[in-house]
Symmetry: C2
Subunit: 451 residues, 2 copies
Amino acid sequence: MINLTFNHEHLADFLSDEELLIMQDEVSVCHDMLINKTGKGNDFLGWVDLPAEIDEALLSSIEEDARKIREIAEVFVVIGIGGSYLGARAVIEALNHPFAGMMNSGKKSPVVIYAGNSISQDYHASLLELLSEKDYAVAVISKSGTTTEPAVAFRILKAHLEKKYGKESARERIISITDKSRGALKKLSTDEGYKTYVIPDDVGGRFSVLTPVGLLPIAVAGYDIRQLVAGAKAMREACIITPSILDNPASRYAAIRNSLYRMGKQVEILVNYEPSLQYITEWWKQLYGESEGKEGEGIFPAGVGFTTDLHSMGQYIQDGQRMIFETVITVDSPAKMLNIPHDNADLDGMNFIAGKSLNEVNQMATLGTVLAHIDGDVPNLGISLPKLNEETIGELLYFFEFACGLSGYILGVNPFDQPGVEAYKKNMFALLGKPGYEKESDAIRARINGE
Amino acid sequence: MINLTFNHEHLADFLSDEELLIMQDEVSVCHDMLINKTGKGNDFLGWVDLPAEIDEALLSSIEEDARKIREIAEVFVVIGIGGSYLGARAVIEALNHPFAGMMNSGKKSPVVIYAGNSISQDYHASLLELLSEKDYAVAVISKSGTTTEPAVAFRILKAHLEKKYGKESARERIISITDKSRGALKKLSTDEGYKTYVIPDDVGGRFSVLTPVGLLPIAVAGYDIRQLVAGAKAMREACIITPSILDNPASRYAAIRNSLYRMGKQVEILVNYEPSLQYITEWWKQLYGESEGKEGEGIFPAGVGFTTDLHSMGQYIQDGQRMIFETVITVDSPAKMLNIPHDNADLDGMNFIAGKSLNEVNQMATLGTVLAHIDGDVPNLGISLPKLNEETIGELLYFFEFACGLSGYILGVNPFDQPGVEAYKKNMFALLGKPGYEKESDAIRARINGE
C-alpha cells in the first residue's frame, strides 16, 4: 500500500485519457528497459532495486555512527555538491523545524549545514566563524575525491578540525562516503583511518539519496531512515509491478509530461504549498534537468512555493507565455495546530475564516489556484501526501526517480549520464593551469585575448 | 559615477552591436515614456524619481525607529507577501552573515524573519514556538490590510504579542507600513496607535524596496539605508540621462533581452556565484515575471546559484532545449579572506591551486562557465559589482527596476499592473464562502461537483 496519490483529474481539457493511453506501448517498452536493465545507461540502474536490497547491517551501522555524532556535535557539516547533498537536504529540511538553529527548546539534534557546494569565499569564511564556536563533525561525500568544490572545502575543514581538536580526535569527527576501492578520497580515508561508507558503482549522484550519501546525514539529523527506505520500497513495488498508465502512478506522470512536452509545454513548474519542501524541489530539478536536458531536448524544470510566489510568479503563470504546466505537491495534514483568531473589530474582514485552521485556508488557496491556472491554459497535475514524514517522503523520492527513468527513455535520451557537466570544468581547469591541461590552457587564453 | 558594469562582450556570436542598435528608436520612445510618464501604467511611476526625492526627515525617522527596535528585539518579524518582503529580504540576506541566527559572537543585530508570506500552518506554528523564546518586534506591511496571508499572520502575531507583553507594551513593538489614508491596516493602526509609515500611492509592491517597505527592515537589520539610496540615486542619474543603448546600461539590458526574446529565447536565467544573492534573484523574478508575464507574452524568469547548480541545472543549460539565455551577476571582491591550504600528500590533486583564494577559483569557474555555455549556444550577459555593500546593491536594484520598465514597454505591455494575481484570490474567496462572493461560491462548487 502506498500513501502518495498522483492525480490528473484536471487534465481532461488538455489531454483526454484516450489520448494519453495512446502512449501505453511506448511506456511499456521503456518500463521493460528499466526493469530488465536493457536500455541506455543500464550500468547506472542500481537505484531501481535499492530500497528492497538495503541490508540490516548497513542500516544499523549508519544508525550507530549517527548516534555517536549526535553525542559530540552541535553542527554536522555535509561536504558535497549536486546529488551528494541535495537528497539529504531535501529530506532533512522537509522534516526539520524551520528555525532549528535558533531554538533553545525542543528536540536537540545537530544542525546540518552544507559546505563544498559552492566556491563562495564569504560563505566558507563565515562557516569557519560559526564552527569556531560550535562542536562539530563532518561528512565528506565524493565518489572521486577530486571534484573541486568539495575537495577544497574538505581541505579547509580538515585543517580546521585538526587544529581545533588535534589530529587524533579530528579523525573521530570525520566520516567519508566514497567509492569502494578507487579514488583520492578512498585512499585518503584509508591512510587517515576515517570511518568510510561506500557509494555503489551503479548509482549516480542524483539517484543516491537512499545510499549512505543521503541516509547518514538524515540519521544524524534525527530522522528514521528505516521508514524512509520502507516508503521507497512500497513505492518501488507499485512502480515495477505494472507499466500500466492507469495503474502505475510513475507511468502516468512520465506519459503525461512527455505528452505535454510534445504539445509544446516546454517548462514544468513543480509547485508546493509548504516552505519546508523547497529542497525537494531543488532535488527534483537536478533529477529531471540532469536526466533529460541533453541533445537539445528536455522539459525545463522550474520551481515555486505557493502561496508565497503567487505574489511574484503568479502573474506570469496565469497570463504569460503558454508553454508551461504545473505539478503540484500538497500535504493533507500538517504536524502542528494553528487556528485563525476571532477579532471583534474585524477591520481586516477576516472573521469569515476565524476559527478555521490555516491549513483549511491553504487547501482552498490550492484548489482555487489550480482552477485559476487551468482557466489560464496551464495544465495541472497533482501529487498529494496525507502527511509529511519519513515514509511518505520515501515514497515521493522513489516515485520521482522511477518516473524520471521512464520519462527519459520515452524522450529517447540516456537519462543516466551527464556529459554536459564536464564543459565548464575543463575550461576552469585550463584557466587555473591545472597540470595536464597545458594545451587547453593555451587555447583558452588565446580565446580570451581575442587571438 | 556608478560601480556596476553591465557587459555584453560575449554576445557577438548571437547578436552584433549593429543588430542591437536597430532597436535604438524603440528604446528611445520607451525611455521617453518612462521619464515623462506618458506610457501605460503611468500612475505607478513613483519609483522612477524616488531615490532623488527621499527626504531627510523620513530617513531619520526610520533610523530612529530601527534603533529602538534593535534595543528591544532579538527577532524582527516582517509580515508581508510579494513586494512587501522580497526587496528587504534581498538586501538583508545579501549582506547578512549566512549563519546570523546561530552565531554567539559578531555584530548583534535582530534576526529578521518573514511571516504572512504563505499560509503554511506548520511554518507559522513553528514561528510561534520560536517567538515564545525570543524578544521580538513586528512590521506589518500591506497597502490594504486585507490581503489574506499577511492579515492572517498579523492577527496571530498581534494576539501573541499582546499576550506576551500586555496590550500597552505590544503597541511599542508593532510598526505598520500601509496606505496614507485608506484601508483596514491604516484604520487599525490609527485605532491602536501604532507607529505608521506610508507606502506611496504611485509605487507598486515590486518597485517598493526604496520606500519604508524595504528601508525599515533593512535599517533594523543594521544596514546603511542612506548608502542604499545613494547607490540607487547614482544609478538613476545614469539611467535617465540618455536612452542610448551604448551609454545607458539599463537601455542595453532591455534592448538585448527583447532582441533575444524575439529570436526565440523564451527563458532568462539569472545566475549568481554567491549563495547570499539568492533573494536578489527571487526579487528579480517577481520584478520581471509580474511586469512582463501577461497577454501571453514575456520571458520566463528562472534563477540558479553557481557553482552549486552547475551540478544540478548545469547539464540542462549546457545541452538542453536551446531557448535560454543567462544574465550573470558577479562580485569582484569578497568581504572575508580565505585561501586554499597546501597539503603534502596532495591526494586530491588540488595543490595546483593551494595558496590561491577561493574567490580566484570562483572567478575562473565563472569565466570557464560563461565560455562553456556560449559554446553550448546560450547567450550570456554580465553584471558585475566591485563588492557587495549597500551602495552597490542600491545601484543593482535601480538598474533592474529601470530596465524592467523599459523592457516591458518595448514588449508592448503595461509593466506596472498585475491583473492575473486576482484570479486565484477570487476562487479562494468563493471556496471559503467570503461574504460578497455568494454567486462565485455557488458557481465554483457546481464546477467542482462536475455539474
